[in-house]
C-alpha cells in the first residue's frame, strides 16, 4: 500500500492477474533497488551543487577570487583559481567540460579551500564537524523515534481514553511550535536560570578532544540539552503518526482474531497490532531523517554546537561558497546513509519485502 512499486504493479496487472502477483516471487532486489535510488539522489545532489552557483546572478567564482585577494593581500595561486573555477563556474569553458572537470575533482575528494578560513581545505573543516552532527542527530533521532513510536503505540491501543486525550493533542501542538523558539527558551530556562546545562558549545573549553574520559563526559553533558530539544520537538510527529496507524490496524481482522484467541493484551498489542502498525512509521522514519538533519542546523546554531549546521551557518554568513557546497553534499550523503539503515530495518520487519526461499 505504501510501496509505490507495489501500487504500480497492481495498476498494471489486471484483476485476473492479481491473484498471481500476490504469490511468492523473488524479491532479492528490494535493497538493491533502494541502493540504485540513492545513487540517483547522490547524482542529483551533486548536479544541483554544480548548477546552483552557476545559475545565480553574478559570478560567484570571481567574487571569491576577489575575496581571497582582499583577505590575503595577494591573488591566489593559479592552482587555486583553477579549482575555484571548476567548482563554481568559468566563463571560458562549456558547461559539459566544466561538469566533467567538477565530477573529477569531487571523486578525488577535492572540495576546494575555505574562503573564510583561507587556505584551510574545506574537507578538513567538514571532517572535524561531521562526527558532532552524526552523534547529535543520530542520538536525537533514535530517541525521538523510540519515545514517539512507543507512546504512539500505547496511546493508539486505547484511543479516546485518558492517556490519548492528553498525549495526542500535546504532541500535535509541540510540532507546530517553532523549534528554535523552544530551543532558545530551553537555553534560558535550563542553562541560564537553572544552570543544569552549559549555554553553548560542544564540550568544555578545558577538555582536549580525543578518546579521553573528561572530554567524552563533557561532550555528553554539552550534548544533553541540544538532544533534548530536538527530541522534544520531533517526537510529537511520531506519536501522532503511530497512533493513527495503530488505530487503523486495530480494526484489522488479525487483531480481532488475536483477541479471539484469548491471547493476553500485551501480546495482542505488540505482536499483532504494533508489529504491523510500525511498518509505515519505519518508512516515514527514512523520509523524516532528511528533515531532521536539515532541522539540526537550527539546533547547532542556537547552541553554537561545532557540527555541520554551525559550519554551514558560518559559511553562509561569510559567503564561503566552497564550504557551503561541501556541507550540503555531505548532509545529503548522511541523510542517504540513514535512509539506507531505515530501509534495512524495514526489510527486517516486513517479510513481504524479503526473498521468498
Amino acid at each position: 500500500m505504501t510501496d509505490p512499486m507495489m501500487a504500480s504493479e497492481a495498476a498494471l496487472a489486471e484483476p485476473a492477474a492479481k491473484e498471481q502477483t500476490a504469490r511468492p516471487r523473488r524479491r532479492t532486489s528490494y535493497l538493491g533497488k533502494r541502493l540504485g535510488f540513492y545513487l540517483l539522489v547522490t547524482w542529483v545532489a551533486v548536479t544541483l551543487n554544480f548548477f546552483i552557483p552557476r545559475l545565480m546572478p553574478g559570478d560567484p567564482a570571481t567574487v571569491m577570487i576577489a575575496q581571497i585577494t582582499q583577505r590575503t593581500g595577494q591573488p591566489p595561486n593559479p592552482a587555486t583559481v583553477e579549482s575555484i573555477r571548476l567548482l563554481f563556474g568559468s566563463p571560458d569553458q562549456s558547461l559539459i567540460t566544466q561538469y566533467w572537470g567538477y565530477l573529477g575533482q569531487l571523486i578525488h575528494g577535492d572540495l576546494g579551500l575555505s574562503i573564510s578560513q583561507y587556505p584551510v581545505p574545506v574537507a578538513d573543516l567538514v571532517m572535524s564537524a561531521l562526527p558532532w552532527t552524526l552523534m547529535l542527530v543520530g542520538s536525537a533521532t533514535a530517541l525521538a523515534f523510540v519515545i514517539g513510536v512507543g507512546l504512539g503505540i500505547l496511546v493508539g491501543w486505547r484511543p479516546g481514553r485518558g492517556l490519548d486525550s492528553v498525549v495526542t493533542p500535546l504532541s500535535t501542538v509541540v510540532g507546530v511550535v517553532p523549534y528554535f523558539w523552544v530551543a532558545l527558551l530551553a537555553v534560558w530556562i535550563f542553562a541560564v536560570k537553572l544552570r543544569w546545562a552549559p549555554v553553548s558549545g560542544g564540550y568544555a573549553p578545558d577538555a582536549t578532544p580525543g578518546f579521553n574520559l573528561p572530554f567524552m563526559a563533557s561532550a555528553l553533558g554539552y550534548g544533553a540539552l541540544p538532544v533534548a530539544t530536538i527530541v522534544f520537538s520531533a517526537f510529537g510527529g511520531w506519536v501522532f503518526g503511530q497512533r493513527n496507524m495503530m488505530v487503523t490496524t486495530l480494526s484489522e481482522d488479525y487483531v480481532l482474531l488475536a483477541r479471539a484467541k484469548g491471547l493476553p493484551g500485551w501480546t495482542v498489542m505488540l505482536r499483532y497490532a504494533a508489529r504491523n502498525a510500525l511498518l509505515p512509521s519505519v518508512t516515514n522514519f527514512a523520509l523524516a531523517i532528511g528533515g531532521l538533519v536539515g532541522g539540526s542546523l537550527l539546533t547547532e546554531i542556537v547552541f553554537s554546537y561545532p557540527g555541520m549546521g554551525f559550519l554551514l551557518f558560518d559559511a553562509v554568513s561569510n559567503r564561503d561558497y566552497p564550504t557551503m557546497q561541501a556541507v550540503f553534499l555531505l548532509i545529503t550523503l548522511t541523510v542517504l546513509l540513514a535512509n539506507f539503515l531505515a530501509d534495512s530495518l524495514y526489510v527486517l520487519l516486513d517479510p513481504r519485502t524479503r526473498e521468498a526461499s
Partner: protein, 301 residues
Amino acid sequence: MVLRFLSGWKVRAGLTVFLLFCLLALLGPWFCSSVLHISPTALDVDSVSTPPSAGHLLGTTASGQDVLAQLITGARQSMIAGLVASVLGTSIAVLVGVTAGLAGGVVDSVLTALTNVFLTMPAFALIFVISGYTQGGGPVVIGIIIGIFGWAGGTRALRSQTLSLRNRDFVVAMRMLGESRVRLALVEVLPHLIGWISAMFLGGFVGGVLAEAGLAFLGLSSASTVSWGSMISEAQQGNALLGGMWWWFAPPGLCIALLGASVTLVNFGIDEISNPRLRNARRTLVRRARQAAVKGADSDE
C-alpha cells in the same frame, strides 16, 4: 459532506482562528496605522525595553519599537511566505501527483523517482544553501524557494490516491462511455482528492510559516521586513530572554504556534472524514448504553 466537515468542534475552532489570522494579515497594517496609530518601525526613544503598558500594549523592543505593531505587521509577512509556499507547493504536488497517478507507465516512473529524490534530499539545508546565494529576500522569494523544494511530501499520497481512483470502477465505467481523459481527471477523479489537497495546502502553509521563521531566524530574510521569524531573531540578538523581556520574545513564537495549531485542528477534521477508522465512538454514549443494559438485566431478575 461539507456539512459533516463543519460539524466538528475541532474544525470550527481551527477555522475560526485561522480566518482571524488571515484577517489580521489582510487588514493588520491598516489597522495599526489608522486605528491604533502605532508603527512597527518607529523608535520610541522614551520607552525602550518597557513591559506592556497602556502606551505600548505589548511593550517595546530594545530599540523602542512597538511589539504589538511588529506582531501585527509580521503576520502579513509570515503568512505571505506561507501562502506562496503552499500555493506553489500544492500546485506542483497536484500536477505531479495526479499526472503520475493517471498517466501510469514511464511518465509515472519518472515522476515518482523525481518525487522521491526531492523527498529524500534534506530540503531545509538546500533551501538554506540557496538562500545563502540569494542573501536575503522578501517573504515572496522565500515562499517560492520553500514551495519549490517542499512539494514532494504530499505528492506521494496524492499519487497513490489518484492511482486507486483511476482503477475504481466508476472511472472505468465513464471511460467506457467514451469520456475524454481530461474530463475523467477533472470531473471524476479530482473532486475526490479535495480533502487531501486541502490538507496538503494547510500543512504546506504551516510548513511555509515555520520555514520562513527558521530562515529569518538565521538572518536570511531581507533586513527591512518584519516577520515573526525576524522578531524572534532580533529578540534573541537583543538578549530579550537574558533581560527578562518575555513580551518581546514570547508573542511571535506563540502566534506561530497558534496558527499552526489552528491548521492542525482543521486537518484533524479532514483526516477523520477521509479515514473513518480514526473516528472514535462517543464514549459517553457507549457507557450509557452499557449501563442501561446492566439495569435492564437487573430488573429482569
